[in-house]
């Protein structure tokens, strides 16, 4: 069955340190993978996506993600975290023509 998982409910990191928010997927066929961010009391905002091509995808606000087919992962990364990065992050999986699922979300806390 198709699915997307975010194994961590919460990630804590100090400002200035690198951050990683994990996402793994399961799909038969080609996966299309997305990261969205949700700030408090706001709608989701698109960060980046992998459709095909280069496995390293660069997105908004200095975020990037690496598609790893062998590990079926699409982890979100940033070299140096900012307090303003604190938010809820969703990984999403698209497949077939019009199917997609959102992960359960990971709350990122960046402390000064």
């Amino acid at each position: 069955a198709q699915s997307v998982a975010q194994p961590e409910d919460q990630v804590n990191v100090a400002e200035g340190n690198p951050l990683t928010v994990k996402c793994t997927y399961s799909v038969s066929g080609n996966p299309y993978l997305f990261w969205y961010v949700q700030y408090p009391n706001r709608g989701l905002q698109f960060l980046l996506k992998y459709i095909t091509g280069d496995n390293l995808v660069k997105g908004s606000y200095g975020f990037e993600a690496e598609f790893n087919k062998s590990q079926t992962s699409f982890h979100l990364k940033k070299p140096s975290a900012l307090v303003s990065d604190s938010a809820l992050y969703f990984c999403a999986l698209g497949y077939n023509f019009n199917k997609f699922y959102f992960g359960s979300g990971t709350k990122l806390n960046v402390k000064p």
Partner: protein
């Protein structure tokens, strides 16, 4: 200009009532969606419309009925509201000229927080 807008932002109502949430997008997109986000922040798609036609209809009680008068609008009507309907409802849109493409970026509205008492 707001790309995807929803009204109202907050909706508090009694069980058994009927209510509607409106959504409009000014991005010229062909596909619009409704999502429900529960108290644990889990996000689940409910419906998707492409050019006013229903293309995704997940397992949702038939008390929920989407209406798309034109491709820029997708409204959500809910009959006989129940306590479990309390959630934040998000509207979204994507380019999707061929339907709700799984490769399309979705643009979300600010959400409508529905509280059923």
């Amino acid at each position: 200009d707001t790309a995807v807008s929803q009204t109202p932002k907050y909706l508090v109502t009694q069980m058994g009532n009927d209510k509607s949430i409106k959504c409009e997008q000014n991005l010229g997109h062909d596909t619009m969606y409704w999502y429900k986000q529960d108290s644990k922040k889990f996000l689940k798609i409910m419906f998707s419309y492409n050019n006013k036609e229903l293309i995704i209809n997940e397992t949702v009680p038939n008390r929920f009925s989407p209406k798309s008068p034109d491709k820029a609008h997708l409204n959500l009507h809910i009959n006989s509201l129940e306590l479990g309907d309390s959630a934040v409802y998000f509207c979204a849109s994507s380019q999707g000229p061929s339907g709700a493409s799984s490769t399309d970026t979705q643009y979300f509205g600010p959400g409508t927080r529905l509280t059923v008492l």
